[in-house]
């Protein structure tokens, strides 16, 4: 019958949602007199419903253990990293991998008041090129923050290479360790499990600061501040380099607290959010 193609499209669309009243009327009128389209509708409905059946192929047996192995190394919530990982942000992808690796290594899962799972001794004592450190190999290094507060002054830059080395060490933390709580509010930033957004901007990283560090005006245009609609928090959209520089400043200033959340995206855009 003539025009069946248009009706086929409506038949399909009606499986996914209501048509407009006119389309609905026209389609029903056509169906009443077109056996072909009636058969088509029946078949497409069968197909549509078939998708609620198991559609193969089934997941490979190693999928579940693989997921759980990574879950055990990863606290729920966006990846929060401390100051000394920020330094690596400017290095783009490779450094994100490092952040990710660090996270997986268990460093970031050290709960408040708990000894770090790896000691600075063992890490510092490693010769170049050695990338493993035994778990539970000593007392917590003093520079590991005992508090869950993300205190910029508590990590020293000299730790960085050692931490990078230790990043490739997996599974050094007991499974029952609680994930660290965020100290600062990440409210303006949304993590939907896939991407990190601030007021609708997809960003690679969000740094939440208790206040702008002194000298911030050298790095960003203060009057370029934006305001998040829902939380009314002030935020800035910045490059990775700007974020890095700001975190450097924050680190040097005792009264500035910072928290960083990093996603895996590579938009080149980062956000600085002020706690209000």
């Amino acid at each position: 019958m003539e025009g069946c193609e248009q009706y086929a499209e409506w038949i399909s669309a009606r499986l996914d949602g209501p048509l407009s009243p006119e389309e609905e009327r026209a389609l029903n009128a056509h169906l009443a007199q077109c056996p072909d389209c009636q058969a088509l509708e029946k078949d497409l409905k069968t197909l549509h419903e078939a998708f609620s059946e198991p559609i193969g192929p089934p997941a490979p047996p190693e999928l579940l253990p693989g997921v759980m192995e990574r879950v055990r190394q990863t606290a729920p919530g966006p990846r929060r990293v401390r100051r000394y990982q920020v330094r690596t942000l400017a290095g783009l992808a490779a450094c994100l991998a490092i952040c990710f690796g660090l996270y997986h290594s268990g460093w970031l899962r050290v709960p408040p008041g708990t000894a770090a799972p790896q000691s600075a001794d063992s890490v510092e004592g490693l010769p170049d090129g050695v990338t493993t450190a035994p778990p539970d190999s000593g007392p917590a290094p003093e520079e590991m923050p005992e508090s869950k507060q993300i205190s910029p002054a508590s990590a020293s830059n000299s730790d960085l290479p050692a931490y990078i080395d230790s990043a490739s060490v997996d599974g050094t933390v007991a499974d029952d360790v609680e994930p660290p709580e965020a100290t600062l509010s990440l409210r303006a930033a949304q993590f939907d499990g896939a991407s990190l957004t601030v007021s609708g901007h997809e960003v690679d990283a969000v740094c939440t600061l208790s206040q702008l560090p002194q000298g911030a005006e050298e790095i960003l245009q203060i009057d370029a501040a934006l305001q998040a609609a829902e939380t009314e928090q002030v935020y800035y959209l910045v490059s990775r380099e700007q974020l890095d520089a700001l975190m450097d400043l924050a680190q040097a200033q005792e009264d500035v607290e910072a928290e960083l959340a990093v996603s895996e995206s590579e938009t080149g855009l980062c956000a600085v959010v002020l706690q209000n």
């Binding site: 499209e9 669309a13 996914d16 069968t46 197909l47 998708f51 192929p57 997921v67 993590f191 499990g193």
Partner: protein, 209 residues
């Protein structure tokens, strides 16, 4: 334990509860990611990534939808990101090089070679599975996003850079093509073994969007 209870426990950090959620959803998530990627191994990696993102995103998960609905959408996003990355990489390169000879849009793996493919499935699901694999890639992807991931036309449009009218007509054409394949499939007939076909009346369709 209900899905909701499992979600609540997982939110508290209960890994066993989360494991159950993964177990309950892994087949469908994998069916989705493997088909979107057109490759088994990539599909498994993407499925793993989707579950990891779910674990990390759980604190933000409000429970406005079911967990399964949510994880399918997450998985779709993971796949879309993956395809975008791959496309971008392809665009940057002048041509295939020796150390990266994969095609930008590789042909699907031949599932039928795999013994697991033979595992028990409902006949209809199995037929649809075969039919999907026989579809051209662009039709398979759009249908997977609609039917397996449950994305709306609008979301599919955003994901694939298509306007809604195009999404609508492509989905219709993909369904027609799938039907044609199944009609030609000697092992499948639309004749009603299913009771559903009898109770069907016009006007009974309920939109799912």
């Amino acid at each position: 334990m209900t899905e909701q209870e499992l979600v609540e426990k997982s939110k508290q950090g209960d890994q066993e509860a989360f494991e159950q959620l993964v177990r309950d959803n892994q087949n469908r998530v994998y069916a989705l990611t493997a088909r979107m990627a057109g490759d088994r191994e990539e599909g498994a990696d993407l499925a793993q990534e989707a579950f990891l993102r779910a674990w990390q995103g759980l604190p933000a998960f409000q429970g406005g939808s079911s967990f399964s609905t949510w994880i399918y959408r997450l998985a779709a996003n993971v796949c879309i990101d993956y395809l975008r990355r791959r496309r971008r990489r392809w665009a940057v390169e002048s041509g295939p090089s020796l150390d990266d000879s994969e095609e930008a849009w590789p042909e699907p793996a031949d599932w039928k070679q795999d013994p697991q493919y033979r595992l028990e499935q409902a006949e209809l699901g199995r037929a649809v599975s075969r039919g999907l694999d026989a579809l051209p890639e662009y039709q398979r992807r759009i249908l997977v996003l609609r039917e397996l991931a449950g994305l709306s036309y609008q979301e599919i449009g955003q994901a694939l850079d298509l306007d809604i009218g195009t999404v609508k007509s492509r989905i219709a054409r993909a369904r027609l093509a799938l039907r044609k394949i199944l009609l030609e499939d000697g092992n499948f007939s639309f004749a009603p073994p299913s009771k559903k076909t009898n109770e069907k009346k016009k006007g009974e369709h309920h939109g799912r969007l």
